[in-house]
Assembly symmetry: C2
Amino acid sequence: MNQRKLQEFQTIFYPRSIAVVGASHDRWKFGTRYLQALIDSRFKGRLYPINSSTDEILGIKTYAKITSIPDSVDYVIVAIPARSVPDLLDDCADKGVKTVQIFTAGFSETGQDEGRRLEKVIEKKSRDGGFRIIGPNCIGVYSPAQRIPFGPMHFSVEAGPVGFISHSGGVAGNLIDDGIRRGVRFSKVVSFGNGCDLDDCDYLEYLAVDPDTGIVGAYLEGAKDSRRLFSLAKEISKVKPMIIWKGGRTPAGAETAASHSGSLAGSDIIWKAALRQTGVVKVENHEELVDTILGFLHFSGFAGKRISVVAGLYGAGGGASVASSDACTSLGLEVPPFTHETKAKLAAILPEAGSILRNPLDVGSIGANLEILNMAIGLVLTDPLIDILMIQVPVDFLVGLGSKKIFQDTIETVVSFRKNQTKPIILISPYGSAVTERLEFERKLSHANIPAYPTFERAAKTIVNLNQYYGFHGQQGMRISSDTLRKIS
Amino acid sequence: MNQRKLQEFQTIFYPRSIAVVGASHDRWKFGTRYLQALIDSRFKGRLYPINSSTDEILGIKTYAKITSIPDSVDYVIVAIPARSVPDLLDDCADKGVKTVQIFTAGFSETGQDEGRRLEKVIEKKSRDGGFRIIGPNCIGVYSPAQRIPFGPMHFSVEAGPVGFISHSGGVAGNLIDDGIRRGVRFSKVVSFGNGCDLDDCDYLEYLAVDPDTGIVGAYLEGAKDSRRLFSLAKEISKVKPMIIWKGGRTPAGAETAASHSGSLAGSDIIWKAALRQTGVVKVENHEELVDTILGFLHFSGFAGKRISVVAGLYGAGGGASVASSDACTSLGLEVPPFTHETKAKLAAILPEAGSILRNPLDVGSIGANLEILNMAIGLVLTDPLIDILMIQVPVDFLVGLGSKKIFQDTIETVVSFRKNQTKPIILISPYGSAVTERLEFERKLSHANIPAYPTFERAAKTIVNLNQYYGFHGQQGMRISSDTLRKIS
């Protein structure tokens, strides 16, 4: 069963050859941009531009028709006007093509009779012709293992454990782009637009059994078969963390969704109630989506509710401590007092003036003294009342010190703690002016299994989401994801 | 009265000379870092390091004591241990110093008897000695017109219309740093820590009458005299937009606040209710604080509730349109349909396939065709049912096109609309990999009075906050802040 499903999707995510219809000498045409990105990504297969008025595009031999290609063609990308698509699909059938990804829009999402009719035509042609359709009205597939870029967008990173399906190419593109920057790596992403043939549930069934996918995410604006979707979500979330962002949760959003992907959004109350019974995490926007995926990537198992905060590094001040208490406890987490033992030991190493010797710990008084910081983190982490450490490192302040050595030493100090114990550590890394340095700092901590969040609120919401998932599925006790270090390049 | 208040604070924000006590040859000492930042900022007055064991620090002639300085001293920065502060204050009194800013912590915020006693001592010395105290336990003053940096943090930008007071140096520092990057400029900022002499209300009374301050913000963890604070807030918000972030809104946050600035946080419900009657905007975190200040900086007057969204530039997809509808309407704003006339005109210029010809308008089909984009924005802006335009420009997609010309042309296209009509335009500029280009894009639009927000949610919340303020004070009709173009460098 699983093998059959994997086989069925083989030419969708691992095609050996791709023809691009709609590429030309105009570099701004979407067809040309798809082809360019395939070249830039060093696609692991043969490429065939299709164009009857030239012999070569971007240095690649070009054919007049799909049927003129001498070798077999697994996958066709279509970026030509909607009215020309049906004839092209006849050629695809003749050629024995397995998968057709239709970027072209102008089908049922227009809400017009002609668009609906055209979509019915191509759907029938796919059934009759023995090929599957991705789309129409979609960006298509991102499959880094096969070096397939995401439409015109080329990302030069390796594959990882996150699979994602999306009604929206923009949402998927933003997720990939923002995710990669934060250390998320993907197995497969597919934007499937109107989903006239393969739809949300088909792709999810594949991701459920795909051995390279450990975390499943979805942006959905509705469901053609909500009963099947909810039942499938329940099955998947038993074995893989699953996150759904439901677009169109307000009446205005739902109306927009209908025009966008032709989806019937359905009531948000019903979605909320139904998803609650599946153990899926429901998120509300792009930030929460990336944040939650990042959390699942780094930590598996119930995270616990008892947060310790270390803030005020380099004298950055206690306002962050107050904000962290507000952020964590207003979301239902706890910032409990340290044990008497921890307090006493902290008091022995930290000057009282300029510090706050309680949880959240403010180490503002020690300036850039990393030796004391090191001891303080050690004390906090071994406190038995604490499940998770959030440490705020304002990289702008750090850069302001003007010492490359302190910058590197801070990284090593924090990283060394991750290596020597099992409690999760989360970096709170506020956006500031020193962007390059912040990204470098975050990248190095991410390699050590310490994910970065820009605010306490977003980190706290992530913990709440992870706890909801692992609580529902009865998995107690936080483990560090074994895959992560291997999969994050 | 106003003149007296301004005169009273003259040596706080415009001192002609500053002595730094605690500077040495150790560059990591806070005293040294204050001095270094004053030098880097080219402070508009005389500088006197105080240190009895050297004649010169950072190239500046150094005196053994305050009383050895031959000329007058307006302002003293104190970064020495708490126990040594009382004797120093005697010197300050002898010398006729006007203002003493005490960075040193270890006073009432420790919660210990000794700290409380010391704070009483310095308070009395200030009364007896005829000088005012900023602090203790604070970063102090940022006064760009006088070229006073914010403690050790030097910012190389001009002054602007935003005044801000803060119980936390970290919160103030983050606001300045993040704000400057987004085009916010400050008249005066003061972090006053425990506020043993001058406290929240004193500084607010000054900002109320300061002609260089047009917008007043505050981060407060409590109030020594809440009746006076709320009454003052009511007076100020009648004449200047006022924003308060109240730290310690949860019980855990309130406990932290007590240890941080010695504040009694008080119930959040009381603060909410009291502030609602003052017409002050209450915000919940750093992001909302900066966002709201930025909104007030660019727009004055009731903004209206009817939002139009233009998204999908460069084919970035309709997911953003759905998300924008959800974000705006869930906060109580409207995304109303366009008039029939607007719809008909849009249909005449935009291909149906790949576009969404309703509000939110998705121009995904036109790729990088700026001529059509230009016409589309024009149509949307002149629609009589629309108050505000939010336009999403995913700079990563824009950079991905690889054309410097399209990048510049997009800027000009959007900016030209701002110049030719009066409806507010807000840029939605998602965080992505192309950080440098995004900041350049945002800066250029900001100069044209188009502020940038990273998400629709944050832009929508800002509009809600502005509407609450101008609604309360009965100011109808959005005007573009006249100060902005002049004040943003």
